[in-house]
Symmetry: C2
Subunit: 112 residues, 2 copies
DNA sequence: CTGGATCCCTATCGATACTG
DNA sequence: CAGTATCGATAGGGATCCAG
């Protein structure tokens, strides 16, 4: 070993990888909303303040592609579409809880 | 209550606020690096693969403005500059650990 | 209801060059 | 060593309209 406080570059890269997905604007809010029970497109849209349908659509596809969210089509008339977390997504949600908790105490950012 | 799984809009907003800071490109890597002991500008730059001096400079100012990182000037010749986490930053780092751990097991994203 | 397609402006970022 | 200034390319994102 070189020294006791070694930086794990691999971990940095991987964290950055996860961040590139849920760190994008709206992503964490959408992810949290789904994780907390919002299943329908409109429901999620209303839940996250300021979110437009377009961005919700874009982000949902990204979250799907990342394997964090699953899209289910119910053959009703008209069809109903449901979003929910995958196992992988649920795992991420759990690892995100401490941050969400930390965020609760986040005082009005010092600047701006 | 409406239902057991209530969405906390305030929490969503606050998490989004924190994410807007450390979710940006390079931010989490830089933040992790400092949290793990990288103190000097050049040290951080080398630690985070692909990071340019310009982006490091920009991100450091953002992290400083957010009160997560402190910049210290040692009156040596020439002056030495050190970056380290504030208490607030250290707290965030702790809340980030589960995600960093989750990220370690993040398999090559399923798509693309 | 659940989005996709377009337009268009803005923010972001990498590369490069330069300074105290 | 520790940054800043500038520039051009590109990605992000809001508004709007349209469709299955």
């Amino acid at each position: 070993m070189t020294h006791p406080l070694r930086i794990d570059d691999e971990e940095c890269r991987r964290l950055a990888g996860v961040m590139e997905i849920i760190g994008k604007r709206w992503s964490s809010g959408i992810f949290l909303a789904i994780g907390r029970g919002a299943e329908r497109f409109t429901e999620i849209e209303q839940r996250v303040e300021g979110l437009s349908a377009r961005m919700l659509s874009v982000r949902l596809r990204e979250l799907e592609a990342a394997g964090l969210v699953a899209r289910t089509v119910e053959p009703t008339t008209p069809v109903s579409i449901y979003y929910r977390l995958t196992d992988r997504g649920a795992e991420l949600l759990r690892s995100l809880q401490p941050m969400a908790h930390y965020a609760r105490r986040w005082e009005p950012p010092l600047t701006r």
